[in-house]
Amino acid sequence: MQDVEVVYQKPDAMTDVPFPYCPGCSHGTVHRLVAEVMDELDITERAIGVTSAGCSVRSWRQFDCDMVMALHGRGPAVATGIKRARPASVVFTYQGDGDMAAIGTGEIVHAASRCERITVIYVNNGVFGATGGQQAPTTLIGQPTTSYPAGRDPKESGYPLRMAEMLSVISAESYIARASVHDVAHILKTKKAIRKAFEIQIDGRGFGMVEILAACPTNWRLSPVRCMERIQSEMIPYYPLGEFSSRGKEGRS
């Protein structure tokens, strides 16, 4: 056994509980990236995670740190209470688009506006996953869902919400980025963005949010590989990747 070198293993910040997610779901990838960043920044012992409603409701079983469950969309308000009460802790929310971009818009906008020293991991797969694939505010034009089987019609239900762009105009005291986990190169970039979104909190500089474009093979009715292709060909053109510069933000000119 002396010749065996460990080149890849479960991050310490993850528990041994198997993922509950569907085959091809991106949550596992994103969970792992968050846990790797927690290991690298050595913050697991002072981290407090906040879960959301939806597929990731059970993510409290995955992260090996203190966890608090929040109701639908309320994660950023719960995280605010935790961070104010435990300023030395590192607080993050893990939210999907059905949770954050629909019922939770009030809480996320105002947490960003207060520049709460929290980190928000926002997984955007464009549907309500856990409830069966209904249309989300982030569903693309023309995309069929169980609530609008003929596809999203902007005359009927408007246009997909770009949360990263929305939040980026609020304050200079923030790090806002959009990333994707559809291939290895982008997964590595996503990890860098997650790290920066934690660092801005740890350094006391402001609010961090990473929007991560993600796949939902079950509700998209596509194979995992086709899902990754769809992120590249359909989602990224509408949801451009990158860090949203603070240019034009109040307080920085």
Binding site: E45, V50, A77, V78, A79, R84, G106
Partner: protein, 356 residues
């Protein structure tokens, strides 16, 4: 706290704030709404100098969820609202109760339904005592009737919340909130908040902690509900509070809480002077309802109960549940913000005493 504030004239809303600060409240999260604003502003002014944090939230929904987060992290915390705002924060009451987190939540009630009016009312009795949020849960609900009691019961509410690990509601109203009365505070020095071993703080070198609003399995949820039920039963057994006045040989009792009890007391005293055998039964705990004491009164000979409340008839349900048909039960009250005069309650007492 300066000496000058030891005995002072305070609005009821301010008395709640002072009671909270002296109880070691560390966080106040809330959203402006009339008629609770004096409490909100009192906390804004006096909580930070006492070492606490005041944060104006973007909504009552956010406010109660900030309370949830701070409570999960072990802090003593509070929010307050009225009518429409209390409906919104009721979502969070359910999750506080589910996660067994202590918090103090104040309802300074106003007239409804809908947006209603900011005039005083007791229309939120059912909202506070019957939940308002989803699922099987109960909050302890206290209904003070004076500024002194608002101060003292708020102070005690923090201990009760921690003892039961459960939200405690202070149900006040616009009359009590706005009225100024002397409040003696000297017996209640500011105390520190207790250390809570179950709170999240980052696991350090200990096993991690999880504050849950949902269990992992169906069986766990059933077991969880059994545990909560046992706690609510304990609360029912130990926390019934009431005051009975002028009950000597009474045949009739006015049953009223909060500001209605204050007004009714004038009417009861006048009726007594005129020889009517009437007393006042004032529930102080509204959940649990002091049903046993009321039942005892009826068994001791009180045959008629006049339930006076500033609403269309809400607490009367608890009176009926307490005494069933062992007494004649009559409601007097008008919803929508009508403020009783002692005279009109006196007339009702006289009518009920005559058996009309």
């Amino acid at each position: 706290m300066t000496d000058a504030r030891e005995i002072t004239l305070m609005r009821g809303n301010e008395a709640i704030g002072e009671g909270a600060i002296r109880a070691g409240c560390q966080f106040f999260f809330g959203y402006p709404i009339t008629p609770q604003n004096e409490l909100f502003e009192y906390m804004a002014q006096y909580l930070p100098p006492a070492g606490g944090t005041f944060l104006q939230s973007e909504s009552e929904l956010a406010g109660i969820n900030m309370v949830f987060g701070a409570a999960a992290a072990g802090a003593r915390c509070m929010t307050s609202s009225s009518g429409p705002g209390f409906t919104l924060l009721s979502e969070g009451l359910s999750s506080l109760a589910a996660a067994q987190l202590p918090a103090v939540v104040v309802c300074v009630s106003r007239a409804g339904p809908g947006l209603g009016r900011i005039t005083s009312s007791q229309a939120d009795y059912r909202l506070c005592t019957r939940g308002g949020g989803h699922g099987d849960y109960q909050c302890l609900v206290l209904g003070p009737a004076t500024a002194q009691e608002l101060f003292e019961l708020t102070h005690q509410a923090f201990d009760l919340a921690d003892h039961y690990r459960n939200p405690v509601i202070i149900l006040s109203d616009a009359i009590l909130g706005q009225m100024m009365e002397p409040v003696a505070t000297e017996a209640f020095a500011r105390q520190g908040a207790p250390e809570k071993a179950w709170a999240v703080r980052g696991k350090g070198d200990q096993p991690r902690k999880v504050i849950k609003v949902a269990p992992h399995t169906d069986e766990e949820l059933i077991a969880w509900n059994v545990t909560l039920k046992e706690k609510y039963d304990r609360m029912c057994e130990r926390e019934q509070r009431h005051e009975a006045l002028c009950m000597q040989d009474a045949r009739v009792a006015v049953v009223a809480f909060g500001s209605s009890a204050r007004i009714a007391m004038d009417a009861v005293q006048r009726a007594r002077q005129e020889g009517v055998a009437v007393g006042l039964f004032r529930p102080i705990s509204l959940y649990p309802y002091p049903g046993q004491a009321l039942k005892d009164l009826v068994q001791a000979g009180v045959g008629r109960l006049l339930v006076v409340e500033a609403n269309n008839g809400q607490m009367i349900e608890d009176v009926r549940l307490s005494v069933c048909d062992a007494a004649e039960i009559v409601h007097y009250g008008i919803g929508g913000g009508h403020i009783f005069s002692p005279d009109e309650i006196y007339r009702e007492i006289a009518r009920v005493a005559r058996g009309a």
